[in-house]
């Protein structure tokens, strides 16, 4: 799995961008997006996904089920 950002809820505050240990988050057309190939769900870095923890809008950084679990995939 990877995380994704629900664009319609994102305030474009950029808080998540600086916290991601994998530089998976970038700005795109005014909102922020997660590159699923880079996202490790923060596994190996932190106990909780940093984008989820810092985002001011609840349920905006959510699991994208389209991807297998990071550990399982690797």
């Amino acid at each position: 799995m990877a995380f994704k950002i629900i664009a319609s809820q994102c305030t474009s505050c950029s808080a998540c961008e600086a916290e991601c240990p994998n530089v998976a988050i970038t700005e795109k057309g005014g909102t922020f997006v997660i590159n699923p190939k880079k996202c490790t769900e923060c596994i190996g870095y932190f106990d909780i996904p940093q984008c989820v923890a810092v985002c001011p809008v609840d349920d905006t950084c959510v699991i994208d089920k389209a991807y297998p679990r990071y550990q399982a995939a690797s």
Binding site: C13, E19, V54
Partner: protein, 522 residues
């Protein structure tokens, strides 16, 4: 019948309706006027007209700073650049879908700038508004949650516009980590928003803080926040960096507690405390807005500010400015300086021209203070317990120079035999846009200044005049384009004479409403 205003308290209870002017004139004979006196931690005019109790080196730093010196805010302008949208805490009075409620008015999405765009904007504004002397970074969000953007902006500006003072507003969570950098960039003022020193109360204001890669909630989060805020404050004042503390007054949550906050920050060296009213209209979508948490009334706010004043200087002229505000306090020229317009502007940064202009401004200020002192001298000898509030329509420069119907805010002065003291402002901008002929907008203006005995304007139409009179507020247009304080004192002298002659029965006014809404650029 003589009735005392609430502020006068019991001392008035036995006084008869008439006081002779002679008897009335004595107490103030020794009064030397604002700025020359004020003992034991109490500045008679605070940061207002004079140095008060501020040490000289601090006074030198703040006297031309519009946000710190009440008197300077008539003459000097500031601007904010919105380069810092990210935040590391969550406040219940904030909805970041719009803007940071801490340091800017909610409801308006700011233009977010890169540090390079911000530096260009500063130059464009400084070329257009020579009295612009201060640049602040105040979110939306927390500037220290965005240290790279914040300090890059400071760096660019100190290179291109070295005379501009830099300041920074922060929630304080990340402050201890950045004190050295703040000192290195010569930031001369820092504002920290401190709403509590008791984590139990903090838990009602802050749902979470994000620190050291974790989210901390409830009392634990609030304890972390207050510890880091107070440590950051101590570290800054130890290095001689000026610190102002902002607090949001939330009735029933931290209103009484703010007296304790005042003591805590004073003892750690903060030089100015700014208690601001909670803004919590439901349409802003903040937690407090949605739970129906009310903001304070004008009287509640003033009472709390007054009760803290013995402890330290209180700031009364805060406009809770937007994170992209430009211009004099209370005016908003940000619409003239959108990124698009700034990019097209010819920018000629003329340091000498700016300095010459500012020298003229200084002359004007000196004249204004002299005029006030002169008028105050004519009041010398007057002794009266009467204290009342008046509202003033002004566009700046310390003059009564705004038409009643065009005023977006009124400045409120407290008058007593000690002189005229600025105690606050009332924004009415949203209501005036239909013009003063508009029945509803007039009522909202009256509600906003309902605690005042008179309103001073440059001009006013017949209809609003009659309505003001029937609401018990005297419209005064005979001091058009004269100095505010001088005129207010002159009017007050006449008022005392009328009370003494029995022509006017002095009575208390009601409470006034603090407007809940965003200042939108008209």
């Amino acid at each position: 019948m003589h009735a005392s205003t609430p502020q006068e308290g019991a001392s008035q209870a036995g006084a008869g309706p008439l006081v002779t002017i002679d008897a009335v004139m004595q107490q103030v004979a020794e009064h030397k006027g604002c700025g020359t006196q004020g003992g034991s931690g109490k500045a008679s005019c605070g940061s207002a007209a004079g140095q008060g109790d501020l040490p000289t080196e601090i006074w030198e730093k703040v006297k031309n700073h519009p946000c710190y010196s009440e008197e300077a805010h008539h003459h000097y302008a500031r601007m904010h650049v919105a380069v810092a949208p990210a935040c590391n805490i969550q406040c219940n009075y904030c909805n970041r879908k719009y803007d940071c409620a801490n340091e800017s008015r909610p409801g308006v999405v700011s233009e977010r700038l890169t540090p390079e765009q911000a530096a260009r904007k500063v130059l464009a504004v400084a070329s257009t508004i020579p009295q612009m002397t201060v640049l602040g970074i105040a979110g939306p969000g927390d500037p220290l949650a965005n240290p790279a953007k914040t300090f890059k902006t400071f760096e660019l500006i100190s290179q291109t516009a070295p005379d501009i003072k830099l300041c920074l507003s922060t929630n304080g969570l990340a402050l201890p980590d950045h004190v050295d950098t703040i000192a290195r960039y010569n930031v001369d003022h820092v504002t920290i928003t401190i709403n509590m020193v008791d984590p139990e109360i903090g838990a009602k204001i802050y749902p979470w803080v994000f620190w050291n890669h974790q989210r901390y909630t409830g009392v634990e989060g609030a304890r972390l926040l207050t510890e880091r805020q107070l440590r950051g404050l101590e570290m800054l004042t130890e290095r001689g960096i000026l610190c102002k503390v902002n607090s949001v007054m939330i009735p029933g949550v931290n209103d009484r507690h703010l007296v304790e906050v005042n003591r805590a920050v004073k003892s750690r060296g903060a030089f100015l405390h700014n208690i601001m009213p909670l803004i919590s209209a439901p349409e802003h979508g903040t937690v407090f807005g949605l739970t129906g948490q009310r903001g304070p009334t004008a009287q509640e706010l003033k009472a709390l500010q007054d009760s803290c004043e013995g402890e330290m200087n209180m700031m009364r002229h805060c406009r809770q400015c937007r994170a992209d505000a430009v211009g004099l306090l209370g005016e908003d020229r940000s619409a003239e300086f959108t990124t698009e317009k700034v990019m097209e502007m010819e920018v000629a940064y003329d340091l000498e021209g700016r300095q010459a202009y500012q020298a003229k401004v200084e002359e004007e200020r000196v004249a204004k203070v002299a005029a006030k002192q002169e008028e105050l001298a004519t009041l010398a000898g007057a002794a009266s317990d009467i204290t009342l509030l008046v509202a003033v329509a002004t566009k700046g420069s310390g003059l009564i120079n705004e038409h009643f119907g065009h005023a977006k805010e009124f400045q409120v002065y407290e008058l007593s035999t000690a002189g005229a003291k600025f105690v606050g402002h009332r924004r009415v901008d949203l209501y005036c846009q239909g013009g003063y002929g508009d029945e509803d907008s007039l009522q909202t203006v009256i509600r906003a200044i309902n605690d005042c005995h008179a309103v001073f304007v440059a001009k006013i139409g017949g209809c609003p005049k009659a309505d003001l009179v029937s609401a018990g507020i005297e419209p005064v247009d005979r001091y058009a384009h004269e100095f505010i304080e001088k005129s207010a004192i002159a009017w007050f002298k006449g008022y005392l004479e009328k009370v003494a002659a029995g022509e006017v029965a002095h009575g208390p006014r009601g409470d006034a409403a603090i407007r809940q809404g965003a200042l939108t650029a008209a």
